[in-house]
Symmetry: C2
DNA sequence: TTGAAAGCGCTAACAT
DNA sequence: ATGTTAGCGCTTTCAA
């Protein structure tokens, strides 16, 4: 290690680089200068081999989740993760869970290649990662599909509650035949938003039979809306489980010669960047997606470094009222 | 290295793990079994320290990065990169260029932490990475903003040509007052698509003064369209530099009481997943975004491993005619 | 507070 | 074809 030409030993340089407290300021300074001057950059591999820490965390993305990237909500979460990690010394390794090579991801994670993992996805499958929790710090985006073990960490929003608020809004606007386009029922947000819709309706004694399920894509929203309309039972409002499907629903509503919100009011979920510029601008539940990602990263780093963290973090949502309802 | 309990030396195990040809099948087999049995996973850090290869590549995302993830086109490119890399032994490290810590990315890349880098972004700034080219294999997504040095590798589509085709379509449909909502003029796709629009118009002797510039976001598309309409010079067709802005333009066209494509026909660019479910479905230029990402990854790996590669790869586009024009 | 020395787990000549 | 022997560049006891 050439930087030892600052007149000290490699050990001392190492101490300076790692910000050890027990180095005389003078010496530290001299070393810093030598480092600058020589453009020294520590070798990650060597460092991690010696210290048994990798300074990197994995972002696990289930592949069926090709979807993940197409979904603006996820994209924001990833962005938040990346930005937040950028301020630390951790590096982000993206792992796409390949169906062709099952176990590859798992082996990678357990092989000591990362100090922790972030798992984002709406999907059921995630749960398989829960078992990693006791060998590696893991933080999930969104609650697990079923009961949560106390040692699982995740950050989420209260989907049930947020959905209720959204539906209440529709009711306040005088709507009585309120349908929903739900998300996949094997994903927590899909289940929870549907539950919230139902709860609000029940509270007001309204019919809760107008349900169609989509898969969070615009196309599925369009066809779900079409089915809803074809029932011929009348619909004057619809709560859609995400904005992408809401935009799809717009098409079908218009194709049926109906107006928004005149004939049918629509409320979405996510507040992605299409929501505001849709025609009409979409009333929707805002989720702090970037912050969710940032929080996941922060929690994971705290976990890795042994700082105290709460195992579940809920972030607030709010209804953004625009012109569609 | 305990797996040597297969009765051979660590060197042999190493050979087996790395698929060296000079190992007796029998021995290789025995070692494989020992590996399975013991659940052995090679340590990346040690391996990379010894071999001076990291088996990982960086995905560099310049910009306040926000944009990149919000843009479905980029999201697909990233997805393609990740999927393609998933089939190799390379790992993907995401680097967000932070404005707060300039040089951090650069140092990381030059610090021998990765075997190569992928740079995606529309932005001018990229060019600063061109200088990395001679210290590290680098593949760019999209051509550099200015003249390209022969040693720079990139994969792209022919934006000028694709835009021409799109505008020709508008002309064939009988449109004569054809405007464009261009992308930022410091980004190659922004410049090239505008050039293609102009070229087609000139060829037909049509007016090429109806230009407004946006920044690829839906909101900017909406306001650009509004400005175009407010000119009061008449517009019966518009070529928009990306789908997100096209969707934004839809709003303004409708807000002005005009119909699509009756009063103004619109053609977009990207064929992102909102295009097909817009109302009306958007006619747009399809870019093989996932494949672009996959190609970038493939080219980079070839470069790293010293296989022959062509320095620029153009992928084909095609016009997808739907209902908006 | 600093230096010396011993590895971290693996690969890569060099022998055999 | 396989084993031996050195390191890769850093961190980390342990002494001084």
């Amino acid at each position: 290690m050439v930087a030892a030409r600052a007149g000290v030993s490699r050990a001392t340089v190492s101490r300076v680089v790692n910000g050890s407290p027990k180095v005389t300021p003078d010496v530290a300074h001299a070393v810093q200068e030598a480092i600058e001057a020589m453009g020294y950059v520590p070798n990650r591999a060597a460092r991690s081999l010696a210290s048994r820490r990798t300074q990197s965390v994995a972002l696990v993305v289930p592949e069926s989740a090709a979807r993940v990237f197409a979904d603006p909500f996820f994209a924001s979460v990833v962005q938040g993760v990346a930005l937040s990690l950028g301020e630390t010394d951790y590096t982000l390794t993206m792992l796409i869970e390949s169906e062709l090579q099952p176990g590859k991801t798992r082996r990678y994670l357990l092989g000591g290649n990362v100090d922790g993992a972030l798992v984002v996805s709406h999907h059921t499958g995630d749960h398989s990662y829960a078992s990693l929790t006791d060998s590696l710090p893991v933080v999930f985006g969104g609650r697990p599909i079923e009961g949560n073990a106390p040692e699982n960490h995740f950050v989420d929003v209260d989907n049930v509650h947020a959905a209720e608020i959204a539906v209440e809004h529709l009711i306040e606007r005088g709507r009585r035949r309120i349908a929903t386009i739900a998300g996949p029922q094997d994903m927590p947000p899909g289940v929870d938003r549907l539950a919230g819709w139902r709860r609000a309706l029940e509270r007001h004694g309204l019919d809760d039979s107008l349900i169609e399920v989509g898969d969070f894509t615009p196309a599925s929203g369009a066809s779900a809306m079409r089915r809803l309309l074809e029932r011929g039972e009348g619909v004057d409002g619809v709560f859609v489980a995400n904005d992408q499907m809401a935009i799809g629903a717009y098409s079908s509503i218009r194709a049926a010669g109906l107006s928004i919100p005149g004939d049918v009011a629509v409320v979405g979920f996510d507040d992605d960047n299409y929501a505001a510029s849709a025609t009409p601008p979409l009333t929707t539940v805002h989720q702090p997606s970037i912050e969710m990602g940032a929080t996941m990263a922060r929690v994971l780093v705290d976990l890795i470094e042994g700082r105290p963290v709460e195992s579940v973090t809920f972030l607030p949502t709010n209804l953004v009222v625009r012109a569609s309802a």
